[in-house]
Subunit: 264 residues, 2 copies
């Protein structure tokens, strides 16, 4: 058996998140079953990010033990025929013995898709967060940059899961307007990059940006919300279905181009 690095795309709508749960389907379990069908042996598949229920990925990274006889260029197809339609291995590569997808990662990108307008989307409704409320997008765009840099993100982390060290560095934080779609809805994508994020951090950050868009918070509220170190100081979390883990980078790698497809 050899350790292989897998890049995994999935539609999280039908899953209770990445991580194996009792009595609920998970992406990790589906991958482990596919690996077991292929190798004849049960083994753990570890991922770079534990995406929540309903969260999608275009470039989750995982490590798996696969038969040495299976050439690396045949792995994706061999696993895809054993995976459900809403999970696909898009790339496979050799992995060093000490490759740890979570700890080894130097940078990740998450995207969060928003759909604005009076009419909710019916196509792609599980891949963006729709809001009927008029939002001040310019204010949100300006405010997004206030997340940049090194901060204590306690205010953006679910309390019960707060870790000891809640400092994180946000290396990109940008709200991009894509275009109007056929039904006159505005499509926005928020992109955030950093080495690691706290549990629920991105959804909490998007929820606060939303609060800035509705006028609940001032355009310059983020520094004070960060300083409060209190989850109650920030807004509510945005729902999971707008979130997508776009890519995960390791030392020496370059980020891919932004994926700017519409979700409809």
């Amino acid at each position: 058996m050899l350790r292989r690095r897998l890049t995994v795309e999935y539609d999280g709508s039908a899953y209770n998140g990445w991580q194996v749960h009792n009595n609920a389907p998970s992406v990790q379990e589906s991958l482990e079953k596919a690996v077991e069908r292929l190798s004849g042996r049960a083994s753990r598949v570890r991922g770079a990010g534990r995406t929540d229920a309903g969260v999608h990925a275009r470039g989750q990274v995982a490590v798996a033990e696969l038969p040495a006889a299976l050439p690396v260029e045949k792995i994706a197809e061999a696993l895809n025929t054993r995976l459900p339609d809403d999970i696909a291995v898009v790339a496979a590569a050799p992995a060093a013995d000490d490759f740890n997808p979570r700890r080894g990662c130097v940078r990740k990108q998450y995207s969060y898709s928003l759909s604005l307008g009076p009419i909710r989307p019916a196509l792609g409704d599980k891949r963006s967060w729709h809001s009927k409320r008029p939002l001040d997008v310019d204010a949100m765009r300006t405010a997004a940059s206030l997340y940049l840099g090194d901060h204590d993100f306690t205010s953006f982390c679910n309390r019960e899961l707060a870790e000891n060290d809640n400092r994180r560095t946000v290396e990109r934080s940008e709200l991009v307007e894509l275009r109007h779609d056929g039904a006159g809805r505005r499509r926005l994508v928020y992109r955030v990059e950093g080495r690691s994020f706290l549990y629920n951090q991105v959804r909490a950050m998007v929820g606060t940006l939303f609060g800035i868009g509705t006028g609940r918070f001032a355009v310059d509220a983020i520094p004070a919300i960060l300083a409060a170190r209190d989850r109650a100081a920030a807004g509510e979390s945005a729902p999971p279905w707008g979130l997508c883990l776009e890519w995960v980078l390791y030392p020496g790698e370059n980020p891919p181009e932004d994926f700017d497809g519409l979700f409809s």
Copy 2:
């Protein structure tokens, strides 16, 4: 009660097509139930095109009887709160007493989405037809124009459903390459426009284009396939999930811009 014209978007994945069926969910039935919940009275909702099981729409047009007291600008929201998440009324307008969405239409656009590459898509997998086979896209693009004009499309219509007059006029027939997506898949959209199409005609036309892409048919095969007036002369139909009814036009209206979102 007043007749209203509705523009309807839907993800057809969960439906046995537009038309009411016994024991199978349909888009029409969902709309009729929503209208009945709103008006307290059962009535038929008629559509411009009877999309098949699994086929999507961004701009289906339908006519429904709605309470006169409900202002036209409140109809979409009132129906959307009574519709499942995968169906949305995106616009409503007054309709003349003799408005017949099917017969009155002067032009429609269907799109058919193709995804090419070794890796099947997991995001948006129910909204494009994925092929692992390398296709000659240039040949397909050239061949697409051979459908243009007035032809007998018997070769592109399911035999048992062939109508008496199988002549139809294709006013646009174009294969557009969108871009590569993150997993290196090529994304193509075929767009076809005309006043009306035979049953399964667009899927049959796409299936034959696919056959041209694989080399089963020559790049100039379409005129002879049309002349044969025999379904067996053309290729197999493309599957329903790549197809989307984009818009339906009535006299005096202008076509909307092409929707060029990616389906992933």
